[in-house]
């Protein structure tokens, strides 16, 4: 840390809007120390613990049938939730950013609602709707449809917790861009779909991708909401985060961290993708 501070000091004579070298060094040390303690140390622990008994055991832990079933279910839930929330994000942003109607502010607030609700409560609301004692419970039982403690419940819970991500990226973006280009397209004779594919979508593609990344990251990792509706049936209704919990509670630390390391890798990939997309948004001129 001292060398970094020294390098900064040597950089240039101090200006009035800069702190002294000791203050800079101290602030850098606090910031980096805090991040090392809370972010880097946990990530390195995941991989250390996962590989503690060697690569063979690591690979065995992530390729056993229950783990593979959990990976498949996690991907399936995200593969259904993300496209549905994508369509919702596009339609909501189109209505909100391009038209005026009464209750618009209210609608924007309601879209954010799932962020303000505990994941546990997100699971609970679907149990109250579709569980055995729920509103539709008896009807569902009669027709032999299972939602709670089955895959549909997991998908619903995932949709709920990732609901706002894409819409809340697109609404401010489309509001800032204005509607001139789209109006020009329509006035020049484009159909609605032509306008959407040729004008709207190219303009919002990076913001859209950004929202999709956030939505996917959260969808792959959701725990609380899914835990309430899943029933934890191995090989059937266990997502990867739930599988991690079960292994950990069985004192199978190496296998738990092996599966956790997959989720951590996914999270790091999402972060890299997000950083790249953010860079594209900030530097719109650069063509790759």
């Amino acid at each position: 840390m001292a060398t970094i501070a020294a390098a900064i000091v040597a950089d240039s004579p101090r200006r009035v809007t800069e702190e002294g070298p000791w203050v800079r060094g101290l602030l850098l040390a606090i910031a980096l120390g805090f991040m090392a303690l809370f972010l880097w140390l946990p990530v390195s622990l995941v991989f250390t613990e996962a590989l503690r008994k060697g690569v063979g055991i690591y690979l065995a832990a992530i390729t056993e049938p229950d783990a593979l079933a959990a990976i498949r279910l996690t991907l399936l839930a995200a593969a259904i939730a993300v496209p549905l929330n994508l369509i919702f994000g596009l339609t909501a942003a189109w209505a909100i950013a391009r038209f005026d109607f009464p209750g618009k502010g209210m609608l924007v607030t309601l879209i954010d609602l799932p962020f303000a609700i505990s994941p546990v409560i997100a699971g609970l609301i679907y149990v109250l709707m579709f569980g055995a004692q729920g509103w539709f419970g008896p009807w569902l039982a009669e027709h032999d449809i299972k939602i709670i403690f089955a895959v549909p419940g997991i998908v619903l819970a995932t949709i709920f917790v990732t609901f706002p991500f894409i819409a809340r990226e697109l609404i401010p973006l489309m509001q800032a861009q204005g509607k001139d280009e789209e109006e020009a397209a329509i006035l020049l004779g484009a159909s609605g779909w032509q306008m959407f594919w040729r004008v709207s979508l190219p303009n919002i593609r990076w913001g859209l991708l950004y929202g999709v990344i956030l939505c996917t990251a959260r969808g792959l990792g959701e725990f609380g909401a899914v835990s309430v509706v899943s029933g934890h049936i191995r090989g059937l209704t266990n997502t990867l985060p739930l599988h991690v919990e079960i292994l950990y509670n069985e004192y199978n630390g190496v296998a738990a961290f092996a599966c956790a390391s997959l989720l951590t890798l996914l999270a790091l990939v999402m972060l890299a993708a997000k950083t790249f997309v953010q860079w594209r948004i900030d530097h719109p001129g650069n063509r790759v």
């Binding site: 850098l28 809370f38 109607f101 505990s118």
Partner: protein, 276 residues
């Protein structure tokens, strides 16, 4: 639908959005309130105010408040360093701030629990001093600091970037020390964003479940947060009890969300007036 300009698709877009919002969010949410309304007032009151439930509210809100305050301080320092200073690896450090958003909460949970367990990397360093983190309320605060950090950094960063250097130069040329400039000129400008970030971290911490349950130990009256209590009721098929406690939590969360929105609207209005 007349006089809406030339753009097409208002009806279908709004129609689909509203239908989806109602199906996924509003109708299921209303189920909790209707279920809770089925309880008598006395039953509701008794369920939501037993000593064990009250202890869980105190712990949940107290630990969340403490974690959000700690995040407000360290988040400000991290944002300051990331905006103002140049150092090697800065881009990667900046990208990693979002790790708690991307990392599944269960992974964060087992990792923090292992780090701070008495035989863990950090727990074994603290144990000789008699400091226990894992399976105590302190562990809950640690987990909540982890998940709340990005909120403060990401709300304060853009404001710091847009601060005009002229203000600081003016303050310095009028004889203010660096600390006075920070305290009197910069901090008031950052304050609204800092409060917003603090409130978001606080709101997120209140509902947090996955990252807390592993490190908390979940002992009734000591380290049991409200979401754990709700799950416990559900596992005993006490749906009415779970719902009643959930409604209390939701009402508090909604009030927080409302306060954030009102505060931001007030801030936007004030900025608008300031720029005229």
């Amino acid at each position: 639908m007349r006089n809406r300009g030339v753009l097409p698709g208002f009806g279908p877009a709004l129609g689909f959005s509203l239908a989806y919002l109602c199906l996924i969010v509003l109708i299921p949410l209303s189920a909790t309130f209707i279920k809770a309304a089925g309880l008598s007032w006395q039953a509701f009151w008794e369920t939501t105010t037993t000593p064990r439930v009250l202890a869980s509210y105190r712990l949940t809100f107290g630990a969340s408040l403490l974690a959000a305050l700690i995040n407000a301080f360290f988040g400000l320092v991290v944002a300051w360093v990331l905006v103002r200073y140049r150092f090697p690896g800065k881009r990667m450090v900046d990208a990693l701030v979002d790790l708690p958003f991307a990392l599944p909460t269960a992974v964060a949970g087992i990792t923090l629990a292992s780090l701070y367990a008495p035989n863990g990397w950090l727990g074994s360093l603290l144990a000789p001093y008699g400091i226990k983190v894992a399976y105590t309320p302190l562990g809950i605060v640690i987990a909540l600091i982890f998940i709340g950090l990005p909120f403060v950094v990401r709300t304060v960063e853009p404001v710091l970037q847009e601060l005009e250097q002229e203000l600081e130069e003016a303050a310095a040329s009028l004889g203010a020390s660096r600390w006075q400039t920070f305290y009197r000129v910069l901090l008031p400008a950052i304050m609204p964003a800092l409060i917003t970030g603090f409130t978001m971290a606080f709101a997120r911490a209140i509902g947090e479940y996955g990252s807390v349950i592993f490190i908390a130990g979940n002992m009734p009256m000591v380290s049991e947060i409200t979401p754990v209590l709700i799950v416990g009721r559900l596992e005993q098929y006490d749906y009415a009890g779970a719902t009643a406690i959930a409604v209390v939590m939701m009402v508090i969360s909604f009030i927080l969300l409302l306060v954030i929105n009102l505060f931001q609207a007030w801030r936007a209005r004030r900025e608008l007036r300031g720029s005229v």
